[in-house]
């Protein structure tokens, strides 16, 4: 029921194999987008608030405990200090981040915190042997099921890079299909780990395979690789999304993650989405930003817009 393509077998190997990407042209486009002017003044503030609503506020660390997950959830429900929102007359517009993103073992804590705070914010969980994906398929599937049982409504799975790098696209497709089934009603975001796929062509192919297998989002990276979300690789992925949309009519979302830290970068990401995919991809149901420290910088920029002063980090509440 989650396949986007009609027919008995939604996997088109030919389509995947035909893909070609020209590296320098993609790099040039990426530079164009980065070099463009970003909005200023009240327009910038508006774009920044938009960016906030697209953030998957993330903590993926070995030392996560219920207490910092609780703090994260509270920050996600009130991402910008109330008095700042009030002075922009945005305090009653329900501005929250798009979701919180945690490890499977912390899902229950996050769900509990959000429930206590009467918030309907979705909890996303990474799964399937995050970040490397080097665990047996059985345990990866169980991980997805358990996260869903604990109350995660979004699952960020990682693909099996071994299959992608050795060109076993069919096998990769089958694996992701199984994850899709395990997710049930939960949204599935597929992490391609672009830093480990070698070429843009491989990224494009992996994007197509993931979408064919029923992903709701494709996501650049885990944040644990050496190369994470870069603009050129994002252009390759969003072009695959566009291609897929044109061919099937199904809109797949995009989530860059890893290394996005400044408000300025978040504006470039929004510009990239607007330029390549159009306004429809500027909302949390088709665009997410995976980040942990980005929110603090956006809050500082908004503080500057409201008061005219640059704040110190300690003036804004800790996440």
């Amino acid at each position: 029921n989650h396949s986007h393509l009609s027919g008995t077998d939604p996997f088109y190997l030919e389509w995947v194999l035909k893909v070609r990407v020209n590296t320098q042209a993609v790099l040039k486009r990426a530079q164009q987008i980065q070099g463009g002017k970003v909005a200023k003044k009240q327009w910038q503030a508006a774009w920044l608030l938009k960016a906030v609503t697209c953030i998957d506020l993330t903590t993926l660390a070995g030392d996560d405990t219920p207490s910092n997950v609780h703090r994260l959830c509270m920050k996600a429900t009130q991402p910008i200090r109330h008095d700042l929102l009030k002075s922009m007359d945005m305090h009653d517009k329900g501005i929250t981040t798009a979701a919180v993103c945690v490890y499977p073992s912390r899902v229950a804590d996050a769900v509990k915190s959000l429930k206590a705070a009467n918030s309907s914010l979705p909890v996303a969980s990474v799964a399937t042997g995050f970040p490397a994906g080097q665990t047996p398929l059985k345990t990866r599937l169980e991980e997805v099921q358990m996260a869903v049982e604990d109350g995660a409504t979004e699952i960020d799975i990682v693909i099996n890079r071994t299959l992608a790098l050795t060109g076993q696209w069919r096998a990769l497709y089958d694996e992701i299909r199984q994850f899709r089934e395990a997710c049930g009603d939960a949204h599935m975001k597929t992490i391609l780990a672009v830093g480990e796929l070698g070429t843009f062509t491989n990224v494009y192919k992996a994007s197509l395979v993931s979408m064919m297998a029923g992903s709701d989002f494709i996501k650049t990276s885990t944040g644990k690789e050496s190369v994470n979300a870069t603009y050129p690789v994002a252009i390759v992925m969003v072009r695959a999304i566009r291609d897929y949309c044109l061919r099937t009519g199904y809109k797949v979302g995009f989530k860059p993650a890893g290394g996005i830290r400044t408000a300025q970068e978040s504006l470039v990401w929004l510009t990239l989405m607007k330029e390549e995919l159009g306004d429809e991809w500027l909302s949390p149901h088709l665009f997410r930003l995976g980040a942990s420290s980005l929110l603090a910088d956006i809050e500082r920029q908004i503080y500057h817009y409201v008061t005219g002063r640059y704040p110190a980090y300690h003036e804004l509440p800790m996440a």
Partner: protein, 761 residues
């Protein structure tokens, strides 16, 4: 009663003197001359004899410790309490204060200049001490007594709660034989009565203690009058109460019960508990709070605030620990709000009354981070039996007082110095005396009346674009770069301005920096400063020596740049460079000399007071002695562990720009020293509007001083202002002087004081 006096009531020490504000000030002035008499008088006063019989020492220290001073309806009680407090403050303070004062007097008498105090021989003159309505008498006396002891005449403008005790204090002084007019108390119900007093051209210094909003209004009202003003905003400070898992939990919970649910609190508290002991602490709190009585609130509106805050917290998932269900009216039961997070409204600004927010943390490092992540920096209470952890946490907490296994203990012997938005002056201790003294070499801010300034667009006019006339292609002026984050760079705007020689010809071009350049410089400074501060003093000293060395190697370049820029003779320029080299060496040698101490306390245990770096400083440099003044200020700032953003004078920027080469060739880390050229007002505005900058040292126009005084209360900065136009007319700061008082003053401006209390049995 006196408290309800709605009209202006004036009490001057000499009985029966009721005169207008202006007259009071002139009385004060006439008294300043006779103040040496007062010093001797204070030394000879026999304070204990004025103490009511039957009060043991323990009672007194207890009274002073918890400042149980309330204005009771019964004047009798009031007299008693007041006497106790002022006596015990004076008692312990006298030991410290008078020792220094005696030294001061003695050294003056013998013409001895060896004592460091002797360079601060000037009292300020007339000092106005203002407090807000709910400020306690302790904080009032913490300012009044040192100010008097240092030889100033004092005008006290007490708030509602302190009016009566202050009047009684004056009476006490009078009985003790203080000369008429030295201590004055002005009471009244007017909100900005303090500002009226301070607007008098003959007041030399004013200091305020209390709430932030009133402080802000006061600062705005007196901006431009040429009166330096300092703030102690402890009353609106939020302080962390941190319980680590190694604490004696029962005692820690006792501490919480003792301080959080009092009717009147000096600070707001947030309870931070380590995860591993959270359940135990919550269980003990429940047990201890069981059956506690409701606490009366100050006003009915407080009740509304509390109800709203508690409801909001509950909606965010907080659970309540309450001793009994809340009734109606101005009473509320002691309440702990469990399960909150730092982003919740009731943690950012806790409601008034007996409501305590509780948050939890994972590791001890996170506990400290949580305590530091706040705009306030008044005090912290940490609970642990682990000595190493206690000292490490105390060191890394960015607050003025750290209480280890205790809370709210205060003693006049130790400095009380708010950080960040909690204050910008040091009260108490030997360190606190300096705010009431003026180095004899240092000119004070000239009195003036404020000019009309549009604060909103101050410094926003771009500098004028100039096309040089009679352009000669054979001698193209050199283009200099500014220095941001260890890199030579142009201005963010890409604009430049011309530097003129004394004759009026274009000497060179320098970048026209602005807001974004300041922002970049501060980002860089912020990153490198903590590492620099943590370096050992010896390592800092080595870096400064290398800077002096590097200056020595480039002395010719700098001599030439000073000469061409200012038009002085070559010998004079050489002399300035030579002096600059030795000034830097002086600072290098001083890095490991300035340290705190361990004052003796009336209670058993240890106390430490230590100077700490402020953080990032902004300096707008003077015109006079462009190189020497630069290295004197730079040396002071970085020797004490600060990072610095400097703006060379608009008129003579070349020596500073040439100095960049010296910085690059030394081993001063990149980003620690930043030099930005451009319009003074524009950069002044940019520095004032950056919260990371903790202090601004300013040489410049009267309007610039006024702008800084107006805008630097929220967020609070430490200001050191100099009006250059006036100073040129009179004898300005003497940079060439080898008197140690200059360096003494400079390093004191570059540090904040932290006191750590570790009581033992």
């Amino acid at each position: 009663m006196l408290l309800h006096a709605t009209s202006l009531l004036m009490y001057v020490c000499a009985p029966g003197w009721r005169v207008s504000c202006r007259d009071t000030v002139s009385v004060c002035l006439s008294c300043v001359s006779s103040l040496s008499l007062l010093l001797l008088l204070l030394c000879s006063l026999d304070w204990p004899s004025t103490m009511p019989a039957g009060l043991s020492y323990e009672t007194r220290s207890c009274l002073s410790g918890s400042r149980k001073v309330c204005v009771c309806v019964c004047v009798c009680v009031c007299v008693c309490v007041c006497v106790c407090v002022c006596v015990c403050v004076c008692e312990s303070e006298r030991q410290n204060l008078l020792k220094t004062v005696r030294k001061c007097v003695v050294s003056r008498r013998h013409g001895c200049s060896k004592s460091l105090m002797s360079c601060f021989v000037c009292p300020l003159g007339v000092v106005a001490v203002l407090v807000s309505d709910d400020c306690s008498i302790y904080f009032l006396l913490l300012k009044v007594l040192p100010a008097l002891a240092m030889g100033n005449a004092v005008i006290v403008v007490p708030g509602k709660t302190t009016a009566l005790p202050a009047l009684l204090l004056a009476q006490l002084f009078m009985e003790a034989g203080i000369p008429a007019g030295v201590l004055n108390v002005v009471t009244g119900s007017e909100a900005l009565l303090g500002a009226k007093v301070a607007q008098n051209p003959q007041v030399n210094y004013q200091t305020y203690s209390g709430r932030q909003q009133t402080g802000e209004a006061l600062a705005k009202a007196v901006a431009g009058w040429g009166v330096p003003m300092s703030f102690c905003l402890s009353l609106s400070s939020v302080c962390p109460f941190i319980i680590f898992d190694s604490a004696d939990l029962d005692s820690a919970v006792d501490g919480v019960i003792e301080l959080a649910f009092k009717k009147k609190r000096d600070f707001q508290w947030v309870l931070c508990v380590q995860d591993s002991v959270l359940d135990i602490v919550v269980a003990r709190l429940k047990l201890r709070m069981n059956g506690m009585k409701c606490v009366p609130l100050a006003t009915e509106t407080d009740r509304k605030l509390i109800d709203a805050a508690v409801l909001d917290a509950q909606q965010q998932g907080a659970t309540l620990i309450q001793s009994c269900p809340p009734g109606t009216g101005a009473l509320y039961p002691p309440t702990v709000l469990c399960g909150l997070a730092p982003s919740c409204e009731s943690v950012i600004s806790p409601p008034p009354g007996p409501v305590l927010p509780l948050i939890s943390f994972r590791s001890s490092a996170e506990g400290v981070a949580l305590g530091n992540h706040s705009p306030h920096g008044q005090a912290a209470s940490i609970w642990t039996e682990d000595l190493t952890l206690a000292l490490e946490s105390a060191k890394s907490l960015c607050v003025g007082s750290v209480w280890v296994n205790c809370h709210s203990v205060m003693d006049p012997a130790l400095p009380l110095c708010g950080r960040r938005e909690s204050g910008n002056c040091t009260d108490g201790g030997r360190e606190g005396l300096y705010q009431f003294l003026r180095p004899s070499h240092s000119p004070s801010l000239p009195h003036s009346s404020p000019s009309s300034i549009n604060y909103a667009n101050f410094g926003s006019t771009a500098s004028k674009f100039m096309i040089p006339e009679g352009f000669d292609p054979s001698s193209v002026p050199r283009f200099y770069s500014q220095f941001v984050g260890g890199q030579l760079c142009k201005a963010d705007s890409g604009c430049s301005r011309s530097v003129l020689a004394p004759g009026g010809s274009v000497l060179a071009h320098c970048p026209d920096g602005g807001r974004k350049d300041v922002r970049n410089a501060v980002e860089a400074a912020m990153k490198v400063q903590p590492g620099w501060m943590k370096k050992s003093p010896a390592a800092r000293s080595q870096s400064l020596y290398s800077l002096a060395d590097s200056l020595d190697k480039r002395r010719r370049d700098l001599t030439v740049s000073i000469q061409t820029q200012t038009g002085i003779s070559l010998e004079e320029a050489e002399k300035e460079v030579q002096l600059s080299i030795s000034r830097l060496s002086d600072w290098a040698a001083r890095c490991d000399k300035e340290q705190g101490g361990t004052p003796v306390l009336p209670q058993s245990g240890s106390a430490l007071s230590s100077p700490e770096a402020l953080g990032v400083l902004g300096v707008i440099l003077p015109n006079s002695k462009p190189l020497l003044s630069l290295v004197s200020l730079l040396g002071a700032a970085i020797a004490m562990g600060n990072a610095i953003v400097m703006v060379p004078s608009e008129k003579y920027p070349l020596p500073a720009l040439e100095f960049i080469q010296v910085l690059q060739a030394s081993d001063i880390p990149g980003g620690l020293v930043n030099i930005i050229t451009g319009g003074r007002d524009q950069l002044n505005q940019a520095l004032a509007n950056h919260s990371v900058i903790q202090s601004i040292w300013y040489w410049g126009s009267k309007e610039g001083c006024q702008f800084l005084q107006y805008s630097c209360v929220s967020p609070l900065k430490r200001l050191w202002l100099h009006c250059e136009e006036e100073e040129e007319r009179e004898a300005g700061q003497n940079w060439t002087s080898s008197n140690p008082s200059l360096q003494e003053e400079l390093w004191r401006k570059a540090v904040v004081w932290k006191s750590i209390w570790i009581p033992t049995a």
